[in-house]
């Protein structure tokens, strides 16, 4: 059985939330004409995700016996997914800095279509130029980030650990990104998102939750084929943590999201806050269990 790997839990979850947010912003940014991405939300998103990303990277250092030498972790890109992960996350961070710079640019000019009487063609051109750069930045960051997340998942794809040695880790990490990314964006954009945007994000979150649940069911059933996998499974099913995680991360969000989408009159924001909070907890627990339940193939002789 594994241990409570707090640094790793924080690093992975926070990092995934951060990238999730950027990803969502990018997505929202595609639609230029009708409901385009609000600048303020863009800024908020960029700032929050940046902070989370920074925190994540810091947390990852705490896992090391010798954080002061962490820079060396870049030296084995050849075969080590850990090296690749670090590289990609650093690149993501660079891309984010570009985004940050972008967001500073925004402030200088007033945004197009903000109801001002006369708009010169120059302004429009500049504005478009800008939104172009913006979505380029968002896209770049998202792609690098997603690659980073995939490689952090790949770290755990170890032949020694049947519970990990499959597509599971990649899917789990990406789903966390999708779910929490969307929910956090909803929170950040509580009063900046247009109804349509909210709706799509909510649907997306719901989708992620359902997929996550289904995948977990398949994953669980697959585990039991190997001895160690079975041990992991038994550990999970017998652990109260797992059931809390199930309620917080799957069932509660499922119900709430459905109800939010069903009746438009209820106060969305509060509920969205709750869902995000619960799902967040659920994901953290889930990640903790991911490490706790890992059982490696090992020597079973008597000591």
């Amino acid at each position: 059985m594994g241990d409570w790997e707090w640094p790793l839990i924080l690093f992975t979850v926070l990092g995934q939330v951060a990238i999730g947010i950027i990803l969502m912003l990018w997505w929202l940014d595609r639609d230029r004409d009708r409901n385009h991405l609000d600048n303020l939300l863009f800024k908020r998103g960029v700032y929050v995700s940046g902070t989370l990303l920074a925190l994540a990277l810091l947390a990852s250092l705490l896992h090391l016996g010798h954080p002061e030498a962490a820079y060396r972790a870049l030296t084995h890109l050849g075969t080590s997914w850990l090296s690749r992960e670090i590289l990609l996350f650093l690149l993501t961070f660079l891309a984010w800095i570009y985004l940050f710079w972008q967001s500073r640019q925004q402030t200088s000019r007033h945004t197009p279509g903000s109801g001002t009487s006369t708009i010169t063609t120059a302004e429009i051109a500049a504005a478009e130029q800008q939104t172009g750069n913006r979505s380029l930045g968002l896209g770049l960051t998202s792609v690098l980030g997603l690659l980073g997340i995939v490689s952090s998942a790949m770290i755990y794809v170890l032949p020694r650990v049947p519970a990990w040695n499959n597509v599971g880790p990649v899917l789990f990490f990406l789903l966390t990104t999708g779910l929490l990314g969307a929910l956090c964006t909803l929170v950040l954009g509580a009063n900046l998102l247009q109804a349509a945007q909210k709706k799509t994000l909510l649907q997306w979150s719901l989708g992620c939750t359902i997929v996550s649940l289904l995948i977990y069911l398949i994953y669980g059933s697959m585990l039991s084929v190997s001895l160690e996998g079975a041990t992991s499974l038994n550990f999970l099913l017998s652990s109260p943590l797992f059931w809390i995680r199930a309620v917080l991360g799957w069932f509660a969000p499922l119900l709430l999201l459905v109800s939010i989408l069903k009746n438009p009159q209820i106060d969305k924001n509060n509920l969205i806050f709750t869902v995000t909070f619960l799902a967040g907890l659920g994901e953290v627990l889930g990640r903790a269990l991911f490490y706790l339940s890992a059982t490696g193939i090992h020597i079973t002789a008597l000591f």
Binding site: G65, L74, L82, I86, P159, R160, H298, T300, L302
Partner: protein, 188 residues
């Protein structure tokens, strides 16, 4: 790679005296916690008769070392003679290798906050000496050998023993002579 050095452990001869275990600690004055080499007792259930049978295992200097693959700092290198050497000066203590090795032989030293493991006494080998554990084995149950087909074709040479992870994971450079049981007159 020109060749692959490894261990041949003879469980028929080994009485589990643990001399190798301590000789290793004595040679390098290893801290209390990490055990580069360890003697394991095979499970009673794996034999027709209750018995005390053993094998001794350090790093297996695998042909496909997982530790080397996952290590982000290239602390692991594989020499031409197949010895997998861990360089503590590069190690940053990320412990990924300890997760990846099915034999748990890279061991985290909680005090130095780095991983350590058996380097097959390469400095002794380079001087033409035997590894400390091999030199210390009173019963000649532990040998330094070249892992190759001619060894594997020898009768009685096994690639694994009950209770060991499948060699498929890392193709460890260790071979065994299986334990042999005599006759027992029991009272139960």
């Amino acid at each position: 790679m020109s060749k692959q050095l490894g261990f041949l452990h003879n469980s028929e001869k080994c009485v589990g005296c643990r001399g190798c275990e301590m000789a290793c600690k004595n040679e390098y004055q290893i801290d209390a916690t990490p055990q580069w080499r360890k003697v394991f007792q095979l499970r009673e259930e794996d034999f027709s008769l209750p018995t005390r049978m053993f094998f001794s295992m350090a790093c297996n200097h695998c042909a496909h070392p997982e530790c080397l693959r996952v290590c982000p700092v290239e602390a692991y290198t594989k020499r031409d003679d197949g010895i997998v050497v861990h360089d503590p000066n590069r190690c940053i203590g990320c412990r990924l290798c300890t997760m990846a090795c099915p034999y748990d032989r890279p061991q985290f030293n909680p005090v130095k906050k780095k991983v350590e493991k058996c380097n097959l006494c390469y400095q002794r080998i380079d001087k033409g000496e035997k590894p400390a554990c091999v030199a210390a084995c009173i019963l000649g149950a532990l040998e330094l050998v070249e892992i190759n087909d001619s060894l594997d074709q020898k009768t009685g040479v096994l690639k694994t023993l009950p209770g060991l992870p499948s060699p498929k994971i890392t193709t460890p450079s260790i071979r065994f002579i299986g334990p042999k049981q005599g006759k027992q007159i029991r009272r139960d």
